[in-house]
């Protein structure tokens, strides 16, 4: 008897083939992958920082300290979650939950390889941008509700900074979009099968990476949590798992930003010899390494310099770049 002729088996296959099943499996993969990836990235960050700073980094837990971040996570889970007095308790509670939402949703439209994509969307790129704006809301909520002046200054800086840097970010993305005529991630990658966009759009690529670094609040644009001025910025008052959720979101946003840059400019999964997924991961982690490298090399910008850099340098260059792209496309 043919097994597929049984009615309930048919239903199961039909269900597995559905979008819902793919979405559930994909979200499960994200839910497992994101925290593990963050644990790995924190370790990488500490090792990179260590070697740049002439020291070995964490070495105690596990061989070469590879289990250090897992132990840290266990420690953070065991910590008491202190809510200081005079805080806005609802917002204080909601902010760390809200900050991880865009960090998880942002993975949905990214195409890691021709077959590895949770959901192809017509507005894939726009979805990531619009969700990444939510994380600013949660930073503002955290800073406002903490009843701490350092947090508030950090939150105010975060809003100004993210508003300023989203413009060059979108403008530089736009110059790729008008070349490919699509917001679909996989189609943008497929358009780069012969030549990567970074060769056509080097200026846009650089602006994109600078602006995403600022959007992720990474050094040298980490004014939001500038530890030498604002102690810890907007999450000064957060402890335990709530604090680590902010941490998780920061690192996950970094990976999403690097994935975006890979899709938009570095040819996504294309590359010789290896399968697509491996190339994608190599490119993403290379970009993350560059961001870490910059972080441990440069001091922090001052707030006015940061704003000037966005409004007086990045935005005009991005606009001119977009204009030139449009004219060249029209002429061709």
């Amino acid at each position: 008897m043919n097994i597929t002729q049984l009615p309930y088996i048919k239903d199961i296959f039909a269900f597995m083939g559905s979008d819902l099943m793919a979405a559930v499996i994909g979200l499960l993969i994200i839910a497992v992958f994101v925290p593990l990836n963050v644990a790995f990235l924190v370790l990488v960050e500490r090792k990179v920082a260590g070697h740049i700073q002439l020291r070995p980094g964490p070495m105690e837990v596990g061989p070469h300290g590879i289990l250090q971040t897992l132990i840290d996570a266990v420690k953070l889970l065991g910590k008491e979650m202190v809510t200081p007095g005079m805080t806005d308790k609802v917002l204080f509670f909601l902010a760390p939950i809200l900050v991880v939402v865009p960090a998880f949703v942002g993975w949905v439209p990214i195409s890691f390889s021709p077959i590895m994509q949770i959901r192809e969307m017509n507005v894939g790129v726009l979805l990531i941008f619009s969700f990444s704006s939510i994380s600013i809301l949660s930073i503002l909520m955290a800073g406002w509700s903490s009843n701490n002046k350092y947090s508030l200054i950090g939150a105010v800086r975060a809003v100004a900074q993210n508003v300023a840097y989203e413009i060059p970010l979108l403008l530089s993305t736009m110059s790729v979009i008008i070349m490919t005529n699509t917001f679909r991630m996989s189609e943008i990658v497929n358009a780069q099968s012969s030549v990567w966009h970074i060769l056509y759009q080097p200026v846009a690529a650089i602006i994109f990476i600078i602006a995403t670094t600022a959007e992720c609040n990474r050094a040298p644009f980490d004014l939001v949590e500038a530890e030498s001025e604002l102690v810890s910025g907007f999450h000064t008052e957060y402890t335990g798992m709530r604090f680590s959720l902010f941490f998780l979101a920061e690192y996950t946003n970094m990976v999403i930003a690097a994935s975006m840059a890979t899709v938009l400019f570095l040819g996504g999964w294309f590359g010789p010899f290896f399968p697509g997924l491996i190339w994608f991961v190599i490119k993403v982690y290379f970009l993350i390494f560059v961001v870490m490298w910059v972080r441990w090399t440069y001091p922090r910008l001052r707030f006015d310099q940061l704003m000037n850099f966005a409004w007086k340098v990045l935005i005009p260059i991005a606009l001119v770049n977009l204009l030139i792209t449009a004219i060249v496309l029209k002429v061709i």
């Binding site: 920082a49 740049i52 700073q53 002439l54 020291r55 002046k149 350092y150 200054i153 050094a219 040298p220 980490d222 004014l223 500038a226 530890e227 030498s228 001025e229 102690v231 441990w296 090399t297 440069y298 001091p299 922090r300 910008l301 001052r302 707030f303 006015d304 310099q305």
Partner: protein, 375 residues
């Protein structure tokens, strides 16, 4: 009643607000409290509140014999403890008229200059860390570690030395220290290139430092600023040259100055002084005279009735030891003129109008040691 002002309700609903930087804050180098009045992020007024690490060293001196006070000066400024230790010895020697062998003077110069390099490394690199660059700090820490190892070999302690004795130093330097210092000088000269690349040519570092926190020549003199902060403002004053003591007149070195008076100038003066200190150490090692390292001094000194004031250059500026003796074995009064105290209060003049981030930069570039302010 301590004069600690905290945020009062009257300021809550105003545009202008007060921010307590400290007493516990990552970049105040200890328990330092800066009460900052801010309009947005721009500083309107800044008020340093000191006294959190007051340990009463000056009062302690009135309750113990001169020898027992020997460990204390190093604990006033723990970053240039060797210099303070030698300075106190010189003050007592001046009071008692004790001769110091030349070899001991040379060893004092070598150890003091090594200590000055270590302190300047912290000063300059901590400034970079205040700007957000953590890597230079650890690079400087690495070089400083070599000095601490060297000094540990001869003095026995790594930070709060008690190596000087009245009439000389505790023990002679050994061959390991001699060779180690030579090696260290060679190593550090090679490292300046790295610092040049990592910090001095770093565009963000220059942008954050240049024109920030300008102390004019007049302000510097009015506030009694000394040390690298004064020389960064273009005043060529160094106690080692202007009022020479110990064996310093025998060495050939320069006093680096910068005209700008900003944070970058102070940082550059510090880095240039490290090179000059290396020159001094090299000359001292080349011409190290033979002989004893301690003259014949009674076990307990009993200075004659009188007073003396001795000034010397620590890593932060001109330190003064004023000792009054009533002819007994216990000092009647010891007053210490601490350079950090004067340097710190120049901040109140220069900070208004700067951003909050610049306050940290200025504080780091002035390079104060908090326990020295309070003593």
């Amino acid at each position: 009643m301590l004069n600690i002002k905290t945020i009062d309700d009257a300021t809550v609903n105003q545009r202008v607000y007060q921010l307590n930087l400290g007493p516990q804050h990552p970049s105040t180098h200890g328990v330092m409290h800066l009460l900052v009045t801010l309009d947005g992020e721009v500083v309107i007024k800044i008020e340093p509140i000191i006294g959190y690490s007051h340990r009463g060293h000056e009062k302690m001196a009135e309750n113990r014999i001169y020898e027992q006070f020997l460990p204390n000066p190093a604990r006033m400024d723990y970053l240039s403890g060797m210099i303070f230790n030698h300075g106190y010895c010189m003050a007592v020697e001046k009071l008692c008229g004790i001769e110091v062998p030349r070899r001991a003077e040379y060893i004092r110069v070598i150890t003091s200059e090594l200590n000055r390099i270590a302190s300047h490394f912290i000063g300059a690199m901590d400034y970079a860390m205040g700007l957000g660059a953590i890597t230079p700090f650890l690079w400087g820490w690495d070089d400083r570690e070599q000095i601490l190892d060297l000094l540990e070999g001869i003095a026995g302690s790594r930070l709060t030395y008690s190596y000087g004795r009245f009439g000389g130093v505790r023990n002679d330097i050994d061959q390991a220290f001699y060779n180690g210092t030579r090696r260290f000088i060679d190593r550090l000269r090679g490292r300046f290139w790295d610092y040049e690349n990592l910090i001095n040519q770093n565009i963000i570092f220059i942008k954050r430092s240049k024109g920030v926190g300008v102390i004019s020549k007049e302000d510097a003199l009015t506030y009694g600023v000394t040390g690298p902060s004064l020389r960064g403002s273009g005043v060529k004053y160094d106690v080692r040259k202007n009022e020479p003591y110990s064996a310093y007149p025998e060495f050939n070195f320069e006093i680096p100055t910068r005209e700008a008076g900003d944070c970058l100038a102070r940082y550059q003066v510090r880095m240039a002084e490290i090179e000059q200190s290396l020159n001094i150490i090299e000359q001292a090692l080349d011409h190290l005279p033979p002989g004893p390292v301690r003259s014949k001094v009674p076990r307990f000194v009993t200075p004659p009735e009188g007073e003396c004031y001795l000034t010397f250059e620590s890593a932060r500026g001109a330190v003064g030891f004023y000792i009054v003796s009533d002819g007994s074995r216990i000092p009647y009064r010891i007053k210490v003129r601490a350079p950090s105290f004067s340097n710190l209060f120049a901040m109140t003049k220069i900070c208004p109008g700067h951003f909050l981030a610049d306050v940290i930069a200025i504080f780091g570039s002035i390079d104060v040691t908090v326990p020295e302010i309070d003593r």
